[in-house]
Amino acid sequence: MPRMLFQKTGDAVWISHLDLMRVLQRAFRRAGILLKHSQGFTPHPCLSIAMPLSVGVSSEYELADFELEEGDETPIAQIAARLDQVMPQGIHVVRTYPNGQKLKELKWLKARLTLIYDHGVPERAEDELRDLFARPSLTVEKHSKKGPVEVDIQPMHRDTTIFREDAHTLILETVASAQDPTLNPLLLITAIETYLPQYKADFTKCHRIRVYNRAMEPFT
């Protein structure tokens, strides 16, 4: 199935997943490209976004699959440029290609968490956060559809690094399990707030960098 790679940054991060679906559907129409529609009483355009982002999270590596209406011969590679011209601020279509890898092969996602401390990064924060994520297990409360559940996040992330960007900013980069099981990188922040509340940042931003397959090869 054809796939598009796009970025969602700036003020577009506030567009929710459902709203983004509408934004993309309309962008296809604006670009003069008709999507295939499902059959049935209320036909839906064939378009789906892999691993929807939470509201407020930016990403430079978003994937969406789409199907063109039968008879539409638009070369898939050309669609990106046409779509990109008609997007709202903050949505940028990088490329479109005919065949994406199977979504079930998607395994890891790399994210960057920016922790901002208004009164400066606490002195021992870097070291203590490193120690925290080196623990054999870290149980964190997660909100699921059935209510709060306890999960151990340690088996679900790797290559987690922490460094100080400037006097007010800590950067935490991590490679989190994208599916089976899924770890929202923001749970690392919850872990800090649970175990080291003194290092709770005044403001945190989350940014998705890339996604990988099981062998840690870039997923496209």
Binding site: D19, P88, Q89
Partner: protein
């Protein structure tokens, strides 16, 4: 500013409505901008972005060289709280610049219950609330919109009003302001200059005097102001500007579809309907114009839904021609077309079937009253027979969902009229039993009653409103008469409607009430989540204003009305004649059948309506 916003937004509901950046928003280089307009809609983004007038004027202002018009909406309660907590001033969505950076503050007001939102927005924008406290040329506040034909409750806060359709007058107003800015005029000099533009009403140029009994004794024009100000209209809708490159919201709004305005005005003359009178004279758009506008704006916006809107679209002269042409286009492009406000009396089987090709929507009627006698009195010329025969067609075509809208508390209403609603509903049920194609699916009849609110510039502008208690009694009476499981009955809050009536027919003394209520914490009064009657009652007590003066008292025939300065085209004499006909339960034919002589045709250069 943006960093602060970034911190606030994770804590509020639907943050996308606070950042702008949508497709087709207008961003200009500040270097080329001489005049900045903060175009405020005193309700949420979802409501404001659904407003056609707002979209037309946004484009018109931004089409002017050197003018940059940005949008400002009322933040929801959580956002207001966060903004106050972080000292974030209200800002334009396009630039994120605070309102203080703008020259003109324009409001489009469509609903009485949004008045306090105006105060919220001015206050959050650090703009002084009172017109008299804004002494310079900067931050002049003006307002227009469907709800400003009685501008008096807002007279304390708004410097001037732009009455009627703004396509042309808004440009004139902005030019006048630009000249004033270039020539460094004082605010007073500018107000004098702008008051010369037809359709502009400057409340401070009129003194309102009162009798000991509280009624108005006279309205005295000052500074050579005209005795009456006549609203503006667009002469030729086919030549009028209509934007086809419109902002496409990135988040869902109330009317999330392409809106095509097929005509202005309404031929019907329902006696309670303010829009029916104030939007006169009737002016249709030609189908060719519509088709071009539809195609251009659908292609540009990427919308997959279009609606043909007007006050009564089935009365649109060229409906058949326009829908034929549009439906072919829409079907090919998989676009849904809807035609709202269809009337029972000329809802043709043909059109229903045509629309069904794309998507089957619900069936909605607004008989407004339960008996023919009362329907005649309000001039809602829909007969029971028409409703039932339309239902018959619909039920045999597979529809099984009917919505019915009524009003309770209409002038001359008796218990018999109230129970007549239930009788009509049962007759519809009977029709369904006899004609339904699939009885297993059952039928849902949704009945909703609103509380009659007498409005200025209607035949009922003098009428008494019944008390909320009496409304509730009638509503319970109706409820007890409709026990069928197929009927779902909803009713409006009588307290909200009582207040709406006060504000609709209010005079300048309401300004103090508005401000007191707002200071008591009244916010987003049109939303049940927020409406708090007690805050308002306290405001009335504290300001010594009696709400019943504006509701149950009624206005006398010879009384000076607060809105007498405004001329919306329809004569007061005609409205009184209509009131008398209503008292006799006499109908007036629609404008197409016979001109009733309302006077609005005089607004047209050629003097004759194209009903």
């Amino acid at each position: 500013m943006n960093e602060l916003l970034e911190r606030i937004l994770p804590a509020v509901q639907k943050p996308a409505r606070y950042v702008g950046g949508e497709y087709n928003q207008i961003v200009k280089d500040k270097q080329d901008v001489e005049l900045r307009v903060a175009f405020c809609f005193p309700d949420t983004y979802e409501i404001g972005m659904s407003n056609v007038g707002m979209r037309i004027l946004y484009a018109i202002m931004n089409n002017m060289d050197g003018v940059w018009c940005e949008r400002v909406f009322t933040p929801w309660g959580d956002m207001e709280q966060e903004m106050r907590r972080h000292n974030l001033p209200l800002y334009g969505l396009e630039s994120h610049d605070p309102m203080e950076d703008f020259d003109l503050i324009a409001f489009s007001v469509g609903y009485e219950m949004s008045y306090t939102n105006i105060l919220t927005m001015l206050d959050l924008g650090n703009i002084p609330l009172h017109a008299k406290d804004r002494t310079g040329l900067k931050h002049i506040v003006f307002a227009g919109g469907a709800c400003t034909y009685n501008p008096e409750p807002l007279a304390d806060f708004v410097d001037f009003f732009s009455l009627g359709e703004g396509e042309e007058s808004t440009v004139e107003i902005l030019e006048c302001y630009r000249d004033a800015k270039r020539n460094k005029l004082s605010k007073e000099e500018f107000l004098l200059a702008v008051s010369k533009i037809p359709g502009v009403y400057v409340p401070s140029f009129y003194e309102h005097r009162y009798n000991p009994d509280g009624t108005l004794s006279e309205i005295v024009p000052l500074h050579g102001a005209p005795k009456t100000v006549t609203k503006r209209i667009v002469q030729d809708l086919d030549k009028a500007f209509y934007p086809t490159k419109m902002i496409v919201p990135s988040t869902e709004i109330v009317h999330d579809r392409m809106n095509l305005e097929v005509m202005r005005g309404c031929i019907r003359g329902c006696r309670f309907c303010q829009a029916g009178y104030t939007y006169r004279p009737v002016r249709p758009r030609l189908p060719d114009t519509l088709f071009c506008q539809a195609k251009e704006s659908l292609e540009d916006s990427g919308n997959h839904e279009i609606t043909l809107s007007s006050l009564s679209t089935s009365d649109y002269k060229y409906l058949a021609e326009a829908t034929d042409k549009l439906l072919d286009y829409c079907e090919e492009k998989k676009i849904n077309m809807s035609v709202p406000s269809l009337r029972a009396d000329n809802f043709s089987r043909e059109l229903m079937l045509k629309l069904q090709k794309v998507r089957k929507s619900g069936l909605t009627f607004a008989p407004e009253a339960g008996t023919q006698r009362l329907r005649d009195a309000i001039n809602k010329n829909v007969t029971e027979e028409e409703i039932l025969s339309t239902c018959e067609i619909a039920f045999s075509g597979g529809w099984n969902n009917v919505k019915l809208y009524f009003m309770l508390g209409l002038p001359t209403e008796t218990d018999e009229d109230v129970l007549g609603i239930a009788e009509l509903v049962y007759k519809i049920l009977k029709v369904w039993r006899e004609h339904a194609v699939n009885k297993k699916r059952g039928i849902r009849i949704h009945v909703a009653t609103a509380f009659f609110v007498p409005k200025p510039f209607t035949a009922f502008q003098w009428e008494k409103q019944i008390t909320p208690e009496e409304y509730t009694r009638r509503q319970k009476l109706l409820k007890s008469a409709m026990l069928s499981k197929s009927v779902e009955y909803n009713w409006h809050d009588s307290k909200l409607s009582e207040l709406e009536a006060v504000l609709a027919r209010g005079d300048r003394r309401l300004g103090a009430v508005l401000e007191a209520a707002w200071k008591n914490g009244a916010r987003l009064d049109g939303w049940i989540e927020y409406f708090d009657y007690e805050l308002w009652m306290k405001a009335f007590r504290d300001t010594g204003v009696d709400p019943s003066f504006y509701t149950t008292r009624g206005f006398g025939k010879d009384e000076v009305l607060p809105w007498d300065t405004i001329d919306c085209g329809v004569s007061k004499r005609f409205l009184w004649l209509e009131k008398e006909r209503s008292d006799r339960s006499e109908t007036t034919p629609d404008c197409r059948t016979r001109c009733a002589g309302c006077g609005a045709n005089h607004l047209l250069e050629r003097g004759v309506c194209d009903a």
